[in-house]
Structure formats: C-alpha cells, structure tokens
Amino acid sequence: MPPPPRCGAAAIRLPFPIPYPPMLRFLLTRAGLVVPTFLGITVLAFFLIRLVPGDPIEVRVGERGIAPERLAELRHAMGLDQPLWKQYADYLGNVLTGDFGVSLVTRNAVIDEFLSLFPATIELAAAAILFAVVVGLPAGVLAAVRRGSVVDHTVMGLSLTGYSMPIFWWGLLLILLFSVNLGWTPVSGRLDLLYYVEPETGFMLIDTLLAGDTDAFRSALRHLVLPAVVLGTIPLAVIARMTRSAMLEVLGEDYIRTARAKGLREKRVIGLHALRNALIPVVTVIGLQAGTLLGGAILTETIFSWPGIGKWLVESINRRDYPALQGGILLIATTVIAVNLLVDLLYGVLNPRIRHAR
C-alpha cells in the first residue's frame, strides 16, 4: 500500500493572492479544483458506457429483433441519433441546470431514484467506517506501542488477513456462521417484514427511532451489523496498519521525548501528543476509504440484498440505462468529492501547518 500524500492540500499555490482569511481561502482553492474533476467525471461517465456494445434499445429488444424504422424512431425519441458531441453537450447543459434526466427503463427521474436508494448505501457505508475506525484505530495504536510483541503480531497478522480476503467469500462465511448456524442475524434485507416504518429520512436506524418502535430499531440494527462488518473489514485493516506505522514514526520524534521530559503520564504522551500527530495521515486514509465505500459497496449490497446504489448501478449497466448510469456515477462522484473536501478541511483542523500555509 503506498503511503498517502501528506501534503496534498499544502502544495496548492495560486498565481494571485486572495485577500481572505486562511480558512476561507483554503476552501475556495479546494472548491476551484473541483471544477476540472467534475468535468472529467462527466466525460468518463458519458463516453465509457457508450463504448459498451449495444444501446438501450438493442439490449431491451434482445434476440427478438426490431424493424429498422422502429429502431430509428425510438433512437430519435431518445436522442440517440444525434452526433455524440451534441449528445454530450446537451447532457452537460442539463446537468449544469441540475437536470439529471429520466431513466430510459423506469421513466422515473434519475435524481429521484438515486435519492430514494442513496440513504441505504450511506447508512451501510457509515456503519462500516464507524466499525473500521472504532476497532482499527485503537488496534493500530496498541500494536505500535507494543511493537514486536504478541499483540503487535496478532493485530498485523489479522489485518493482513482481512485486507487480502475476498469480500464475497468473507460475507458468505459470516452469513454461514452467524445467520445460518447461530441464527443471531438475518440473512438479507434491511428490516424484518413484520415491521413497517414510514421512510422519513431513508436511514432505517433513524426512521425506526422516529417511529418510536424499539423492536423495529433492534431489527434494523441486526440487519445492519453483518454487512457493515463485511464492508468495513478492508478499511479496518488499512486503518489499523496506517495507524501503526504513523504512530511508530511519531513515537520516535523529538517532541515525544520532550513530552516525557515534562513528566507527563505515558497515557497522555501517547493519547494526546503522539496520536494527535499520527492522526493526520490516518484521517487521509479514512477519507479515501470512505469514498471507496460509497461507490464500492456493490459486492456487499449484492450478497446481503441491500437495496442501495451499488445494486442499482449494476442493473443500470446491464440495461444500458445511459441517463441512470451517468446520473448515478456523477452523483456518487459528487459525494466522494464532498467527503474528500471534508477530509481536507479536517486535515487543516488537525494540522496547523496546513491551516496557515500560504
């Protein structure tokens, strides 16, 4: 695993000075960089799917065949007979006005479909990253402090195992153990059929709480645990290893010796003076992982029949549902960019040298 960039945000230099406070300037600079990223994503989302043979109509028609006049008619109706650059320009123009188009298959607005499914994915990803941080961070710190001990070797061995394990296999193992043999958790879905909860926020945990139904809440939690653990395993391994190496580096620094020379307790030296510095690279890794989880929950969602974005995107690819796919990818990318921006901001909060960088 390559080390994460440690000074990404600090390297930005504007050719002209902006007369704003450092934090605002930092934000504006970052926001400015989003524009080219955004354009790049529209290009990729638009052209890549069109490289796949078969357009939406051909895929839907399948082997039955279709009269050439009817094909041309449908293509014209969907705007697919326009030159590619014209299609792209129209698409870009629509996107810029906030119009993500209509699914060619369901005829629903892409944005509506996306928003109805996205909370499920966020809920899963958030639970997974929470699990990964809560377990991975302390494990990494412990491994670093007890370097070379049994604890260290155990943590590192387990995290390497977790990192190398195929997700679907790991998921199936856990289902076999906890759902089938022990019967502790349900196999799939987000909630038992016994319960019905009005979707207020789309987050099952919050909705069940809002409805005041503790049994339903417990059911939602039991449904969430296993997929969250499966999805969080790789981030957990990455975070544990990153925390360990960052801590080891920091523990050798002069200022740790200074902290000890002040007569501080070891708990404070490690938990405050060392961890605060070690968190800087770790937060970057957490951010990158969070981004990956949002788009990369496809396998987990499929194994656990989790009704989220991942499943929806795979289905859209199979149907060549261009607008759904373009919209979905763009919206996910936007979320990932937002998460990374948040991480960069947090990075500035954690690292005073970046906050004041000119």
Binding site: Y255, R257, A261, G263, H273, N277
Partner: protein
C-alpha cells in the same frame, strides 16, 4: 551533599551486533547552583548521560550505576509516578533541535501551560499569567499574543526560548541544556547562551551545559568534564582546563578552536572519529587518534587519576606547564 551525584554510571544498548556501552562508568557531581560543562565530540555519550538522569533512555537501553541520586533521592529505585514528579519539575531539560522538540500540533502556550498544570496545579487566569510571565522572562516580545502561536510560526531561536520557558516553568533545581545552540545561527547562539547564563544566575539553579563547542563552555561553565567514547577523560575547573589541559584529547579540542589558531594556515583537526560499536580499541580508547600513543596505551586502559586541580584519564598526561605548539 551534591545535588546530582553520579557514580560509575553506564548505559548499554544491546543490539544484534553486540552490546554497546554508550556511557562507560562515568562519575559526575553537580552542586546546588553550579554550572558544569560537559564537552566532547558527537557520539561521546554526553546526551545519553543526561537522558539517563532524566530516565528517558529508550528501549532496549540499560542503565546501571553505583549511585544515581538527585537531592538525596535514588533515581534508580523510584517508581514511575515518583520520577514524573521530579522530572519536568526539579530536573528539566532543553534539547538540541528546537524546531522538532516542540509538538507541531499544539500552540506554544498550551505546551508551556501543560507543565504548569501537571506540576503546579495552576489553572485559569493564574496559569495564563504565569505563562505570559515566563515568555517575557525568556525574552519573547509580545508574549501575550505568542501564546496562540504554533511552533512553525516562530523562528528557531524563538522556539528555543519557548523550550527554555517550558523547562524553567516549574523552577527546576537542575537544568540540563543539551547542545541548546547547535541548531541555531551564530548570532542567535550568543543570545541563547546569555539567556541561560542570566536565568541560572537569577534563579540560582544548577546548570549542566552539554556541548561540543569548547568556546561555549569557556564563557559559561565553572567546571568542565571532557567526555570521549562514553568516558570522562578529564575534569577540572574551567580556567585551569583552558590554561593547562592535561589530556591529549582536551588539548587537541582546544587546538581546534579557531581563535587559538591565529596565524596558522590550517585549523588543526583530530584525525578519525569516535569509536563506535565495532571499532572500540583495546587499551586507552583514544589511542588510535592520539599524537602521543605509546605501547602501554594499546594494552592497558588508564584510570581517571586525580591531580592537583582535577583528574585525567591518561598514562602520559601533558605537563602542567605546557606551551601549545603545532
């Protein structure tokens, strides 16, 4: 009774390549209010000695001593919490690299206040006022506004002043300054040394000044110990040492001072380096680099022999009345 009393202190590091004695049986006493200089090249064990006193020798280092006591308390046997009550309060240390010795993630105000909070129990207004007062004492302009500065916003010299403020925060009885000026510009070096000397005088605290610069010691210390390869090779009052060094190593160090080499084309140097783990010679540890090595020096290890003003670890000490010649 001496404030700091060290007898036969050794610090060993065991590695795969074998056991290395970074400090090899040194004796050192420091009285209340005394300024002692420890001089020697890099790798001579100066810093390790002070870290041993602070209890900061990193794993897998091992500290052994016949006596290691501070103000009558045996530092070898005290518990961790007892040590934390002494270290940072009664014994404080200033390190070599001010830029890396301060935590980059915390303001200098926070880092100074931390010591005051832990040892003196100060809080709120009193804590803040005391911190501002300390920054003022170490000559930091506009101390009020510097409380919220981060180390990267200050220069090396300013950071070293912050380090000093942090060290003297709890009125230590002994301050150990480990090469406090090495990383700084020459003009700043003088200021920092003057500051240390002033604080020492005003507060009457004992000061151990560790350096590889003979010139620095000459201006500040009353008594000097010269270390080589983990051993004290010569110790005596500063004035006597500078006038009549008895150990060939001390003499060579003094000869290497630019101000003593006036009129020469080339500054004299000492060939070779301090022996490390693999190349420790038999006999006198300085014999491979000494101008006066005899057969005896290669077979037997000399002891630290007392003389009229101090002690020397040499079979053939230089005469008490010696002219420095090329």
């Amino acid at each position: 009774m001496a404030l700091l009393d060290i007898r036969n202190l050794s610090v060993e590091f065991t590695t795969r390549a074998g056991t290395f004695r970074a400090v090899d049986g040194i004796d050192l006493t420091v009285d209340e209010g005394e300024v002692v200089g420890i001089v020697g090249e890099s790798g001579s064990g100066k810093s390790v000695t002070s870290l041993a006193v602070m209890g900061l020798i990193p794993e897998p280092g091992r500290v052994v001593a016949d006596r290691l006591s501070f103000a009558g308390r045996d530092l070898r046997s005290i518990s961790g919490s007892e040590r934390r009550r002494i270290v940072g309060k009664d014994i404080a240390m200033v390190f070599q690299e001010p830029m890396t010795s301060l935590n980059p993630c915390f303001t200098v105000g926070f880092q100074i206040m931390e010591a005051l909070k832990v040892h003196e129990g100060l809080t709120g207004r009193a804590l803040r006022d005391r911190t501002v007062e300390l920054l003022d004492q170490v000559g930091i302009p506009a101390p009020e506004s510097r409380l919220r500065a981060f180390p990267h916003q200050l220069s090396g010299g300013m950071n070293q002043r912050v380090m000093i403020a942090m060290a003297i925060a709890c009125n230590p009885r002994l301050l150990i300054a480990d090469e406090p000026t090495t990383a700084l510009d020459v003009t700043i070096q003088k200021q920092i040394l003057d500051l240390l000397a002033r604080l020492q005088r005003e507060r009457g605290m004992a000061l151990i000044l560790i350096t590889h610069d003979m010139g620095v010691v000459a201006e500040t210390a009353r008594r000097v110990a010269v270390m080589y390869a983990g051993q004290v090779v010569e110790t005596r009052p500063a004035a006597d040492l500078f006038e009549r060094p008895r150990h060939p190593y001390t003499a060579a160090l003094l000869d290497a001072l630019p101000e003593r080499a006036v009129g020469r084309r080339r500054l004299p140097t000492i060939p070779g380096v301090v022996p490390g783990i693999a190349d420790r010679p038999g006999g006198c540890l300085f014999n491979p680099r000494c101008r006066f090595t005899a057969t005896r020096c290669c077979g037997l290890r000399p002891e630290l022999e007392p003389d009229d003003t101090g002690a020397t670890r040499c079979f053939f000490p230089l005469p008490a009345h010696r002219e420095v010649t090329p």
